[in-house]
């Protein structure tokens, strides 16, 4: 599955590649996907086959790992509308596929979910799940739980009415749709079963929005879904509230910028917790929810750990949604702290935005987030540490009026980024979620946008925006090996055991996924579109350009 396991820890139990021998890692195989946009997500290895989904046009490749050169067993080329390129806010990315019982299930940018026979590559079903005419596209990786395929849509920049859907894995039929805001009936809130630990009440998903602003309030689902089989709950984060002018939607705007827990079978909402009430800064909470059993203050806790765009790392009780730990993992100026009793951030009034506030300067983190939700963390049960990419960017934010016009951007902001304290634009960190402390940090010159992988060999892997693929020591962060992979890395590493019994590590190269990362001058694919370098990151184009490549490394 996309995150290795339902707990989304991106931890591999393989040990052949370890801190002692990782220095001799070297590339063994590469494949050009033929696509130039951002290569988020990760390959999927099932048995003797590696599956790769490209960004739009969402080609699915199946490589035969038994044969020299890993020739294709088949490829599947769906008919995906190019119009989706203008409805996807931030790039034509795809965050990966899920395998279950002989089926590969993944999403197409233009609003479809497909199931493909893993052996033959034949399409089993294709379901329309999202409406581009309403500003919806689909970039996230689905998760399959028993007989349900769980999917959501992007569109926080288009004023969608955000939702999560459960499809029948055999037929693709939509079994349930649960909205992320709106009246209880739309949210699949059933009397007596919804227990929000801090803010409940009838129809809170509609009443916490001025007027009917919830109808176009965004709260998209473009990140990751995790699942606890024991509690039978799926967990996912919702994106920003729309539009970017918070004065257009007074109230908490529940449940945007939140984590929601639902029953996979019926979609029923069980609990919800909002990280950023009344989102003023585009702080999506779509980053991964890692399900880990921790010991906090001497007590065992079934925890959910989440690194938010807003700069705080949260540890919740995943049965109840109660907040246990919240501490900043990057520079934060919009709030002073998070109050554990109320679960609410202690807001810094001077950093509140809105049309009436004009340009608000010095907001940290920037709207790129202290970590991108596209960059999922990893957790090692050996070191008890969480590993994540981070960004060190602050911003000036000037909200502007925006009109909601179907299938056009519903944004309304003038913003500029500035490097955060220290001058490095990113870092890769190890985090102790029980205490809320950083264990170590590897500074990076550019925003760090790749996912993390931790292995039982005590090696942690990540990639950088300037195109290095790195292996570091899980205990110390010390660099063990690095290799320049041809384009900036925004994808997620995986480890797997090949048919020959050897351990391999795979990663995508392919900068993109967010137009700010391209810094204006990184693209050279269109002679009719030539831009100046972005002020905050003037020289990234000196170190990388576009290009989608699958890399496999080994000893």
């Amino acid at each position: 599955m996309p995150a290795k396991n339902y707990a989304a820890t991106r931890y591999s139990g393989l040990t052949q590649i370890n801190a002692q021998n990782a220095r001799s890692l070297h590339p063994l195989w590469t494949f050009s996907t033929g696509v130039l946009t951002g290569h988020e997500g990760q390959p999927l290895v099932v048995g003797e086959t590696m599956y790769v989904v490209t960004p739009w046009p969402n080609v699915l490749y199946a490589f035969d790992l038994r044969k020299e050169g890993y020739p294709l067993r088949w490829k599947y080329r769906p008919d995906v509308s190019s119009n989706a390129l203008g409805v996807a806010c931030c790039d034509a990315v795809n965050r990966g596929a899920f395998y279950l019982d002989g089926r590969i299930v993944y999403n197409l940018l233009d609003g479809h979910t497909v199931a493909v026979d893993a052996r033959s590559g034949r399409e089993l079903w294709k379901t329309t799940i999202a409406d581009m005419g309403d500003g919806e596209t689909v970039t996230m990786a689905p998760v399959v739980v028993r007989d349900r395929v769980i999917v959501g849509a992007s569109g926080g920049e288009f004023g969608i009415y955000g939702w999560l859907k459960g499809l029948d894995v055999k037929t693709g039929q939509i079994a349930w749709t649960g909205h992320n805001m709106g009246p209880d009936a739309d949210m699949l809130v059933r009397p007596g079963t919804f227990r929000a630990p801090y803010d409940g009440g009838v129809d809170v998903g509609a009443k916490s929005w001025a007027g009917d602003s919830w109808k176009s309030g965004g709260a998209p689902v473009w990140g990751w879904i995790s699942y606890d089989p024991e509690l039978d709950l799926i967990y996912y984060g919702t994106g920003n509230a729309a539009p970017y002018d918070p004065e257009a939607r007074a109230g908490d705007n529940k449940w945007s910028a939140s984590v929601l827990a639902r029953r996979p079978g019926t979609g029923e909402l069980v609990w919800a917790y909002q990280f950023t009430p009344h989102d003023n800064w585009d702080y999506d909470a779509t980053g991964a929810m890692l399900l880990v059993d921790l010991t906090i203050a001497g007590k065992p806790v079934k925890a959910l750990v989440h690194f938010d765009k807003n700069g705080f790392a949260y540890t919740l009780d995943r049965a109840s949604g109660k907040l246990l730990v919240a501490a900043p993992f990057a520079p934060v100026t919009w709030a002073q702290s998070v109050d554990l009793a109320s679960g609410r951030p202690v807001i810094e009034p001077a950093k509140q935005t809105g049309v009436s506030k004009g340009k608000v300067t010095g907001v940290c983190p920037s709207l790129e987030g202290a970590v991108s939700p596209a960059s999922p963390p990893a957790y090692s049960p050996r070191t008890h540490l969480f590993y994540t990419s981070t960004n060190n960017l602050c911003m000036d934010y000037g909200a502007a009026h925006a009109a909601h016009l179907r299938a056009t951007p519903y944004i309304g902001v003038d913003f500029a980024y500035h490097p955060g304290p220290g001058g490095n634009l990113g870092a890769f960190i190890a985090w102790d979620a029980a205490s809320g402390r950083k264990a170590w940090e590897d500074k990076e010159p550019y925003p760090s946008w790749s996912g993390a992988l931790a292995t039982a060999g005590d090696v942690v892997f990540y990639g950088t925006l300037d195109g290095w693929f790195k292996a570091v020591d899980a205990h110390s962060g010390q660099l063990l090996s690095k290799f320049k992979v041809g384009s900036g890395v925004v994808g997620n590493p995986i480890a797997y055991r090949g048919p020959d019994g050897k351990e391999y590590v795979a990663i995508y190269a392919g900068i993109g996924g967010d137009w700010a990362l391209l810094a204006g001058d990184t693209r050279s694919d269109d002679p009719t579109d030539v831009r100046e370098p972005a002020e905050f990151m003037k020289d990234i184009a000196r170190h990388t350009s576009q290009g989608g490549i699958v890399w496999i490394f080994g000893l």
Partner: protein, 156 residues
């Protein structure tokens, strides 16, 4: 679920029509649907260009209309894709003097009115011909950079 939020922009569009004075009809005749136009940068097979209609911008180089077009550029959320000032974001830069589908008035009109592949929506329906000409007038008023194709990181 279908929604149409009539934007405040429509109100301002009515005002724009007024501020653009009583512009002559954009197309020959009273039809609001412009004829297909030839795209001058296409290479004509056999050296023979196909016949095409002619579109003339009724507001060409009118600074007041360009100013109104700048407001319309935000009101129609054009800046959501092409960035403020048309400097480019998900959609291509409109201020670099380079054009996928031609930069003459009629070609820019055609791009906005009917849309283009890879995501440019068709705005002719909501804006009508005069609204689109207002945008064309703004886009054509953007200052062109001196086009320097070389970018160097070496110290001279």
């Amino acid at each position: 679920m279908r929604r149409l939020h009539l934007p405040a922009a429509l109100g301002c569009l009515a005002a724009l029509a007024a501020c653009a004075r009583s512009a002559p009809p954009p197309v020959a005749g009273a039809s609001t649907t412009p004829p297909a136009i030839a795209y001058e940068a296409h290479v004509a097979a056999g050296g023979i260009a196909p016949a095409g209609g002619v579109l003339k911008n009724p507001h060409a180089a009118d600074a007041a209309v360009a100013k109104a077009g700048e407001q319309l550029f935000s009101a129609m959320n054009c800046d959501g894709c092409h960035n403020l000032g048309g400097s480019g974001w998900v959609g291509p830069s409109l201020g670099d003097g380079r054009w996928r589908y031609g930069g003459a008035d009629a070609e820019v009109f055609s791009s906005i009115y009917y849309g283009r592949p890879k995501g440019m929506p068709a705005f002719g329906g909501i804006l009508g011909a005069d609204g689109v000409w207002t945008l064309v007038t703004y886009i054509r008023s953007l200052p062109l950079p001196s086009d320097v194709p070389t970018e160097s990181w070496e110290q001279p």
